[in-house]
């Protein structure tokens, strides 16, 4: 198991002249929790779909659990678990039946289905509801059932595509508790996509993906450290004018954002008094903090993740959606 769990080299996926995945390379070590962070339409789901053999790559190569996704799709399928972005349970089957369907398709003899599914149902707290049709489940229960299903056949790599999307904060926290437990117990490699910063924080390493490219890849701490600075956000009566003045008198270039003028400085606490001293524009509000992954995202893409979402969505709709694709 010393070879990488996932190994991707110069991967491309092209729809017409739109590069959904544009020269992406990375590798994930066994047991690692690896995250793809990026806005919707950045190419996260497209990449996952290729790694799961649901989509063909246009160029490059990808290996999962040691098998080539293009030439050994069946071996790849046997070794991966998937929790899709959208719910992929059969509503008219019970929770137990959904698990049974999965178990049998993955080669579990029918006589052993019960002993395999029972502990997983227990783990996700659905033992009592196992014989109820899934259409009566809440969103959180469906998600937990899907996670149990994804683990049923002991995959070497578990893909979680936006596993907590559309869930309330409390349920999200629970899902994460399960994920953490699982990692401790099974040492399963996990490949996660998210556009929640707090979820990306939990990963061993994250790749920031934007418009089909990986713009940065490292541990969350290293990424934050790579900015090398504190973040000072100020709101003034005229942010644009303040920005010009700060460039001139303090030599610091700020970014205008929805939250105000964002400045990156080496020592935030010492910077603020100097700022007040030199700035003519009235400051209404000051905030000094260590950089977050949000700041990292802005640093590498030049945009806020929410802005990025809006623009890539538009672009995506006009190209890939027109071809009848449902998602990237």
């Amino acid at each position: 198991m010393s070879s990488p769990a996932v190994e991707v080299e110069s991967l491309f996926k092209t729809f017409g002249d739109f590069h959904a995945v544009n020269n992406v390379s990375f590798s994930v070590a066994p047991g690692e929790l690896f995250g793809f962070l990026g806005p919707n339409g950045a190419g996260k789901t497209t990449t996952i779909s290729i790694l799961c053999t649901l989509l063909q790559l246009s160029a490059g190569s990808a290996r999962v659990a040691g098998f080539d996704v293009a030439t050994q799709p069946n071996q790849v399928r046997s070794n991966i678990g998937l929790v899709f972005q959208e719910i992929t349970l059969d509503d008219y089957l019970t929770g137990a039946e959904n698990l049974k369907f999965h178990a049998v398709l993955y080669g579990c003899p029918p006589s052993q289905v019960k002993e395999r599914t029972a502990p997983l149902l227990e783990m996700v707290g659905l033992t009592d509801r196992a014989d109820q049709q899934v259409r009566f489940y809440s969103g959180g229960m469906k998600r937990r059932l899907e996670i149990a299903r994804g683990l049923l056949h002991a995959p070497r790599v578990l893909f979680l595509d936006e596993p907590t999307i559309g869930l309330d904060p409390q349920t999200r926290l629970h899902i994460w508790d399960y994920v953490d437990q699982l990692r401790q117990r099974e040492a399963t490699t996990m490949f996660l996509t998210t556009h929640y910063m707090d979820e990306a924080e939990r990963c061993d390493r994250i790749a920031i993906i934007d418009q089909g490219r990986i713009v940065a890849i490292d541990t969350p701490d290293a990424l934050k450290a790579s900015i090398g600075t504190d973040v000072v956000t100020i709101q003034t009566s005229d942010d644009a004018a303040a920005r010009e003045q700060i460039i001139q008198v303090l030599g610091v270039t700020g970014d205008l954002t929805d939250d105000g003028l964002r400045l990156k400085v080496t020592d935030g606490e010492a910077f603020v008094p100097r700022l007040f001293d030199r700035l003519d524009t009235g400051v209404r509000n000051v905030n000094v903090r260590r950089p977050s992954l949000d700041d990292v995202f802005i640093e590498y893409t030049g945009r806020d993740i929410r802005d990025a979402e809006a623009s890539t969505n538009d672009k995506f709709r006009s190209t890939a959606m027109a071809r009848g694709l449902r998602k990237s």
Binding site: N74, E86, V104, P119, L120, M123, Q170, E186
Partner: protein, 289 residues
């Protein structure tokens, strides 16, 4: 639809004994695929009985045809006016075939439905052959439509059609064959469809012509030449003919260029069409973008 919403109990994650995930048995691929096929089939059967309204809607139209269209046209064509039998009797095997045809093709809708609601992806990432999935779907859809068709058999005495044990099982055999073939055909159509709406359009353009031109509703032996040719090119024609012949031996059998089509030929065409469609379905099903 009565929906009981059960609130999420959000249980605290409990520490349970490690599921021994490494003990998963991997058996021969043939057995695995066979079991997977049965599982796909069983899912369709379970779903049918969880949605009993489907059975009712599936038989409503054939019943309307049998009693309204049948009684109405019987008075127009007169006694023994349809291929040598009463029109309602003539129509009875027709509506069995019609029920099977409709539900077989609409069973294939389930694939588009699964695509839209994601369950298809769950099947497509499984380490089983695409042919396993297609075969399971064809058997599932076929069985569901035969079950729906059999519900109509209770109406036979009303229109003066009677069965022997032998004729019942012969009919069952041909119903299964027709249902299986048409479901395979439906899967071919469905595997090229992305959305529910387009499927319904195709069904309207495919299902109704296929039904009207199959001999289910009117005899095919005294038609204008152009219509006679089209009906003989319709693969459903042969299954319908076979079902009628085993139920109503006294009705005139299908003729091509004046000669009677043998029953084995009916069976062969239906089976051949089914196998060809199945092969095509496997090819289309396995394609990834």
């Amino acid at each position: 639809m009565a929906k009981t919403f059960i609130p999420d109990s959000n249980p605290d994650p409990v520490a349970v004994p490690t599921p021994s995930l490494s003990t998963m048995h991997h058996e021969g691929p043939l057995l695995r695929n066979f079991r997977a096929m049965l599982m796909v089939w069983r899912r369709d059967i379970i779903r049918l009985f969880r949605m009993p309204t489907r059975i009712i809607t599936g038989i409503a139209q054939p019943i309307l045809f049998l009693f309204v269209l049948g009684a109405g046209l019987e008075s127009a064509v007169g006694a023994n006016g349809a291929a040598g039998v009463d029109y309602q009797q003539y129509l009875f095997p027709g509506i069995l075939a019609m029920s099977v045809l409709t539900s077989a093709l609409f069973s294939a809708i389930a694939i588009v439905w699964d695509r839209e609601f994601g369950f298809l992806r769950e099947m497509l990432v499984a380490p089983v052959r695409r042919s396993t999935l297609v075969l399971g779907k064809a058997l599932g859809g076929g069985s569901v439509s035969v079950i729906q068709g059999l519900v109509l058999v209770v109406l036979a005495p009303i229109v003066g059609v009677s069965f022997t044990v032998a004729s019942f099982f012969e009919m069952l055999f041909f119903l299964l064959l027709l249902a299986f073939s048409l479901t395979a055909f439906g899967i071919v159509v469905a595997s090229r469809m992305q959305r529910m709406e387009s499927f319904q359009m195709v069904m309207a353009l495919v299902l109704q012509p296929m039904l009207f031109l199959s001999g289910a509703i009117f005899p095919l032996n005294a038609l204008p030449k152009w219509l006679a040719v089209i009906t003989r090119l319709n693969p459903a024609t042969y299954g319908v003919d076979a079902i009628r012949r085993v139920i109503l031996p006294q009705a005139a059998p299908l003729e091509i260029f004046g000669s009677v089509v043998p029953l084995w030929f009916d069976a062969l065409v239906t089976l051949g069409f089914g196998v060809a469609m199945l092969a095509l379905a496997v090819k289309l099903f396995g394609k990834t973008e």
